[in-house]
């Protein structure tokens, strides 16, 4: 393997680490805000399930990233590096702008942009991009519908219960499981995007064949990186996703996490890379909407829509410029 390939793999793992660092807040914010666990234990809980996700999910999402975005013969080390720089650069810009953008969409935009800059639009695989594009919109909508439905079911099943404190205690315990399920889904879908990038690097470097599966060391490295990111940074940036969108009680937290987890399980199984942030945002909006329209801060939903529109072109432009610079230097 060349030094360039090793550097790109290291950058991909760093991207995965920052993903865990940044997205940990999504999986544990509701558990922390409802005081089910202290921030430290909540992060440990989420990181554990991020890591063991490799035992449950196959590597269909990784294959989609490596093989369904652009034609494999144009995925050189330079193109992949440009794509990663585009994704990381876009994430940094939107982090400072406060836009809830998706690392996954940035990655797809980055890889696509870097490849198009060098070889033209014909290298894009339209069926793969259509699949990803449709689920950019669908995944938060599925999360919203499931979060809302679960919340209505909970209200309907327990509306006669007088001992609200005892009920809340039960839901607090339930949240441990729903947060674990969401962390599994997060680890399963997001770590696989890095696996896809590393698989593409290995194919480009000739280390594995074009039809090869993801090697086990890549699976373990990607899950370790995302779990370490969650473990080391998550608790510092927990600003309660719950209170940003709508005020959540334990029952609402459980409904939102369960709805988002089911969405992520399905998409990971089907090999569709989706935004875990947008999925949980949709589910929390669904829980808020079960009360009344004004219980949701709709500005957050509007910002998610803006993020849908600008992320792929934004990351693609940065990646295209980086890719052309790398080509000129090389």
């Amino acid at each position: 393997m060349t030094l360039g390939a090793v550097i790109v793999i290291a950058v991909a793992l760093a991207f995965d680490y920052t993903n865990g660092f940044h997205d940990a807040a999504n999986s544990i914010a509701t558990v922390v805000s409802t005081r089910v666990l202290s921030p430290r234990y909540a992060v440990l809980w989420a990181a554990t399930f991020n890591f063991i996700a490799f035992l449950i999910f196959k590597t269909a999402v990784a294959s989609t990233i490596a093989k369904d975005v652009v034609h494999q013969d144009v995925l050189t080390i330079g193109v992949i590096f440009g794509g990663l720089v585009g994704a990381i650069g876009w994430n940094l810009i939107t982090f400072f702008l406060g836009l809830p953008t998706s690392s996954s969409h940035a990655l797809v935009g980055g890889i696509g942009g870097a490849a198009v800059a060098r070889h033209g639009f014909h290298v894009l695989i339209s069926s793969g991009l259509r699949k990803i594009g449709i689920f950019i919109v669908l995944s938060p909508l599925i999360g919203l519908a499931l979060g809302l439905t679960f919340m209505i079911l909970i209200q309907w099943m327990f509306h006669r219960v007088k001992r609200v404190d005892r009920l809340n205690k039960g839901f607090r315990r339930g949240q441990l499981f729903s947060a674990a399920a969401y962390s599994l889904g997060h680890g399963g879908n997001d770590a696989q995007k890095t696996m896809g990038i590393i698989l593409a690097v290995l194919i480009a470097a000739g280390t594995v064949g074009p039809d090869a599966d993801v090697p086990i060391w890549v699976v373990l490295a990607a899950h370790s990186a995302i779990a370490l990111g969650t473990l080391s940074g998550g608790w510092r940036i927990v600003k309660t996703m719950g209170s940003k969108i709508t005020r959540l009680q334990p029952a609402g937290g459980m409904a939102a996490e369960t709805g988002a987890a089911i969405t992520l399980f399905y998409t990971s199984y089907a090999g569709i890379p989706v935004s875990t942030t947008h999925t949980i945002t949709g589910a929390i909006i669904g829980v808020g909407a079960s009360k009344r329209m004004s219980a949701v801060r709709w500005t957050m939903a509007g910002r998610v829509v803006v993020a849908w529109i600008v992320t792929i072109p934004g990351a693609a432009i940065i990646a295209a410029v980086t890719s052309l610079i790398v080509q000129a230097v090389a």
């Binding site: 669908l138 909508l141 329209m293």
Partner: protein
């Protein structure tokens, strides 16, 4: 009783889902209509709930 704006929201989301159907490839073309149908059901349930409350309020 003021109209429940969630009904409009669910109806719009259903339209969005159905509009995505022609764009989906063969393997996933059943997902958008399933989600869209879910929103239609939610819109109908919320409409019925609002209508019954509206009638009860008018009857008083």
């Amino acid at each position: 009783m003021p109209f429940d704006r969630r009904i409009t929201l669910f109806a719009v989301l259903a339209v969005v889902c159905f509009a995505l159907t022609p764009l989906a490839d063969d393997k996933y073309d059943q997902v958008p209509p399933i989600v869209g149908t879910g929103y239609v059901v939610l819109a109908i349930l919320f409409l019925l709930d609002w209508w019954s409350r509206h009638r009860a309020t008018r009857g008083r």
